[in-house]
């Protein structure tokens, strides 16, 4: 995939320059100096030869095929070069220049023209407004970055060119190997998704790192990530928020569902490891690129001092890892050579006078214990220890180890050379014990994702035609908000259980309906204009007889007439009153990047005040629906506290899956909620008591 970008047989540099310091010079020089074996064609009408290579006035005059063109000309000149690429059948181009959509409407028009033309000509583009790309396997440095990272197994893509620069400099300074380096720029054509897919297939890439400010096509991104992450870890830092506009447009449920919720959900649902900071990104990368995943949560810590051991144990306690109880036979073997003051329990404290031999013997014994799934080795540079020698022994033993080994040698001056040894031998090394634990924890979570079950979707029979008709009628009436009876019909069409309910246009009708339903009943205003019915005095509950129903009809209609005189009143809904069960809220919002998002929380203050809600991107798998129910802090209330019977969790899951299907089937739904969904102990029905749906044409 994207073969001509990463492993081209020939590269042309359009705008190649003879002046050092110019981008057109730097790129050509980078391609030539790092050993790229293919043909290289500088394109410059004013030169015969650049950097010892024959130059050509334009692409078409090159007497051979060109796989990749790097266009290092200013923005206004780019479109013309793309036309030439078309003629020359160059199918892959990298556009370096800035001056496109990032500078405003004029640049955006230029970029759009470029995109349209390239699409027509069948040309794939990286950029514009980027640094270029690097592939260490083909020794191709088609960027104007200063330097070439060592060969390695980390693929990195970034929406920020500056971060590419910084990270490349870090790779050079710390001797960290990379497989590929891609500066995405404006992502006019090729986006993070295609780069991820390409790195997913690349044998040299073991771990994919990314820095993103936005995602181009949420669902496609998730689909690709889900597929890749089953085999290869993807670690991403996401910065900034971009749905401020979408947020402002939506009411309270929407206000909670800013795009950060969407990114969190999307990453979680597609197995992406979400790094909270650049610090974590690289900490994780070191571990994932170089060590096997832990097969379970049980970890051993080896240390020559108590303090760092306690720090690591604390960090462990806050993670999903836990300190493995050391087996008796392992403890006995350790006791054979450790001094009496040492601790053979976990952390294994081989004390301050430990030498490299003691470290080695201890690690040997620990590695042989099958119950231990990962090892973190800590060292403080005491007088007794030679950190370099310890590092060397660890490197030797790590070669044949089948469990991850991470290290933290604390200090600086005396441990510097040991850290260097670790770098050179792919042993992750951290300044502080907490960072080692955190990386191992991320590895364990990722392994759980990898081993997780296949996504199970459930499909429900639904009367889509009916829903389509209702939406058409609403739009015809120039409305966006459905009235309750419409919302009820839609839920009904998707198989939700609803309380019995009928519209009454007169007091008399109301009494007849109530007696048919059976007392007590609930009454609610039916109006397309009254959204918050309770606040307007439009709801009465617990009406036990005909007289109360008559009074309520009058009170409800006059309250609405008084408080919202312009509201159209269609009648009053008379509804079966359901008295048992716990109230939960289900919602749909629409994220501009990921599409429909499903929300879940407990009714009342839990959502509004405590913000105790869970989000997932639709469509939900069965596992995701179940997981989001368990995600909220108040979940124990559903499971039952103080001897209460648990509610029907499967009933909530079913409702979430139906709502997810509705949201996917009808993209015109921009917002909606079922509030409340009444959920009872297992065996009793789950009932959607009230619903609100807003659509857009």
């Amino acid at each position: 995939m994207l073969e001509h970008f990463f492993n081209p047989s020939s590269v042309a540099v359009v705008g190649a320059s003879q002046s050092p310091g110019k981008i057109g010079y730097d790129i050509l020089n980078n391609i030539l100096q790092y050993g790229y074996a293919g043909a290289v064609y500088p394109i410059n009408p004013n030169a015969q030869e650049i950097l010892g290579r024959r130059a050509y006035p334009d692409l078409t005059s090159v007497p051979a095929d060109i796989d990749l063109a790097i266009i290092a000309l200013p923005a206004p000149a780019v479109l013309n070069v793309v036309e030439q690429c078309g003629k020359k059948k160059v199918d892959s181009v990298v556009i370096i220049a800035a001056g496109f959509k990032e500078i405003g409407p004029e640049g955006a028009r230029l970029e759009e023209a470029l995109a349209t033309r390239a699409r027509k000509l069948g040309i794939r583009m990286i950029g514009p407004n980027c640094l270029g790309l690097i592939d260490t396997a083909s020794s191709l440095n088609a960027s104007f970055a200063a330097g070439m990272p060592p060969n390695g197994h980390i693929g990195f893509f970034s929406q920020s060119g500056a971060l590419c620069v910084a990270i490349l400099d870090w790779a050079l300074g710390e001797n960290i190997g990379f497989s590929k380096f891609v500066s995405l720029g404006n992502k006019t054509d090729i986006s993070e998704t295609e780069i991820m897919l390409s790195m997913g297939k690349d044998e040299n890439t073991r771990v994919i790192l990314g820095y993103l400010e936005s995602v181009e096509d949420g669902p496609r991104f998730m689909k690709a990530a889900r597929q890749i992450s089953k085999n290869k870890p993807i670690i991403i830092v996401k910065s900034g928020t971009t749905t401020a506009g979408a947020k402002a447009a939506s009411s309270h449920t929407g206000a909670l569902a800013g795009s950060n919720h969407a990114y969190d959900a999307a990453f979680k649902q597609s197995g992406i490891i979400h790094a909270e900071s650049m610090h974590s990104l690289f900490g994780y990368a070191m571990a994932f690129a170089n060590q096997p995943l832990p097969k379970g949560p049980r970890l051993a810590i080896i240390t020559n001092s108590g303090g760092p051991g306690i720090l690591a144990a604390d960090a462990c306690d806050k993670s999903s890892l836990h300190l493995s109880p050391i087996r008796k036979e392992t403890a006995d073997r350790l006791r054979e050579f450790l001094p009496p003051a040492a601790s053979v329990y976990n952390p294994v404290d081989i004390i301050g006078d430990a030498s490299h031999e003691r470290y080695e013997k201890t690690l040997e014994v620990i590695l042989k214990d099958d119950s231990i799934r990962g090892v973190v080795i800590l060292l403080t540079p005491t007088a007794a220890v030679d950190p370099e020698a310890v590092a060397q022994r660890i490197v030797n033993l790590a070669k044949d180890a089948d469990k991850p080994i991470l290290t933290s040698f604390m200090g600086e001056k005396k441990v510097r050379s040991a850290r260097k040894i670790f770098q050179d031998h792919a042993i992750p090394s951290y300044d502080y014990p907490e960072d080692a634990i955190s990386a191992l924890d991320a590895m364990l979570s990722y392994r759980k994702w990898q081993e997780g079950p296949e996504r199970q979707y459930r499909h429900f029979e639904a009367d889509r035609l009916k829903v389509r008709k209702i939406f058409a009628s609403v739009i015809k009436q120039h409305r966006h908000d459905l009235i309750e009876s419409e919302a009820r019909e839609i839920l009904n069409a998707y198989g939700f259980r609803l309380p019995e309910s009928h519209m009454a246009r007169t007091t008399k009708e109301a009494v007849i309906i109530a007696s048919e339903i059976g007392y007590p009943v609930v009454m609610k205003i039916a109006s397309p204009d009254v959204l918050h019915k309770s606040d307007m005095g439009g709801v009465r509950v617990g009406l036990g007889n005909a007289a109360m129903v008559e009074d309520a009809f009058f009170e409800i209609t006059s309250s609405i007439q008084l408080r919202q005189p312009s509201a159209r009143i269609l009648g009053v809904m008379v509804q079966e009153m359901i008295r048992e069960g716990k109230e939960v809220i289900l919602g749909i919002t629409r994220d501009i990047q990921f599409g429909p998002m499903i929300m879940f929380g407990l009714g009342g203050i839990y959502v509004e005040v405590l913000k105790d809600v869970a989000f997932r991107i639709a469509p939900l798998s069965e596992e995701e629906a179940d997981a989001m129910i368990r995600d909220i802090r108040a979940f124990p209330l559903l499971r039952g506290v103080r001897g209460e019977a648990p509610v029907d969790i499967k009933g909530i899951q079913d409702a979430l899956l139906r709502l997810s299907q509705l949201a996917i089937d009808f993209p015109e739904i921009v917002e909606g909620d079922i509030n409340p969904l009444l959920v009872c102990p297992e065996g009793q029905a789950t009932v959607a008591v009230d619903a609100r749906i807003t659509i857009q044409e």
Copy 2:
């Protein structure tokens, strides 16, 4: 303070050795080689001279006064040397040897003997089981650590000798200056509190760092920290938990109040900056030691690239800092020299072709804007920029700046020398932007603490004699749990409002009392043996007439007889039923290191299921009582949601302060709660409905 430890006129090394590699050699050698100007006396009966200094067979044979003795002999020999110190009037000793309480009961006995003897002789001790101490101002390195840190303004103490070693090595490698370095060891005599007090008074120390695994005397530690932290920041990493035993002993409220809650509360209440990791500890230290505190939350970010700017802005958004809107006149001045593509808003993006001159001019303008309280400068090593030159310009401008300047130059190879310049000129420099923001955020929180109001205590009139009598009677009956009427009397003695309540011994009495109180009433079993009354069927509420009271009396007593036949039944309490108000819970638990701790939460599931509770160490100040009410997530429910009237927050505050006073007055209270305290809208009384108190002799 502790003058003879840190600035002695003369030092004796008892156990000085002639063999390099021995601790007795290393210490003497460290004292001599780093320029300590006082007299130095090696003590060794088998040597005439060590390292060019005349040796003495014992302390008493030294022909001059000795301010400080470093005892570098094995544990069994130490007591005898302490005796000699007594004779020689040496009042300050450092004991290096391990082999005391950390090895078990035998060592503990030796340590206790040592402590008793030293106390008797008026000798102060650091250690045993420690590395020694360093004071850079007096050039005294009385430790066996390898190396001497540069002079500086950070004082460091550590309960782990190994961390001292690691941190010293880090200081040497990174050229970080320290004022004092103290390895606390077993803290037999001198603890963290005295070291903090000493560093608090030390002019060379601007910031105090500590690593602690435990605190010796919680209240004294808090008092000292509170006093010092008003002038000087104290930053502490606390590792491990030690109250597992205390936790197991307490019931559900206690189970929430593990010692981590106590440390969190204690640090918060005494202005200690709680570093979550070693990484944060040093990140914060760099900022606090070298930069002025920000005068407010408004921050400017200067960057030469978008990505890192967004990362910093994100971090800012999660902190208490915020990006200052750039004033028009400042923006205009920036526009004068910045290219059009630059952003003069915040983050101020001076774009990828920025030179050191552009950085300099931008910083100059930003520093002059009074509305900006702190500056974070980011750099990625683009081709256009010379990081070293930028660093130099920043260093020059920072000299006269009155606001904090923090930097993050991302990368490694090309920014290494710039980072070195920052280190040498006391400009905090971080690998990643997020760490700079986090350090500045800690500085802002600390400034808020410094500027916070003086602690205000309120004293309530209370009938302590009555409480004492009740406790005496309970103990006499070999009980620990008070019955409800006793608990009520105690709350009454401390001025709590209680519902009217009387004990009925017969059905008839119950009806008479109920009619006097007025219906409806509540009835509860009165028994010293029934703790969870509701669960045992011992409570009935909403009893509206005589017949209901009669039935309830029978049902309650028979339920208890059935379910807990051994329970002594004293009668049934008949109580006024309070129907209005929100239920909150107040609690007392006792932490083994910090003493009485006050708990607050909302009634019902909020404490038990959602663990939404706040803790503070007693005695509470008025501000602390108020702050803990606002700390819980459910606080908006008290302030009123959906147009509800707010409850009487002052009433809760008053109750917390009264409970705090009770907890302090009577250390025999090991646990108690008021559950529920009913709190009504302002103007109405706050009522303690039910209480439970457990005491210990």
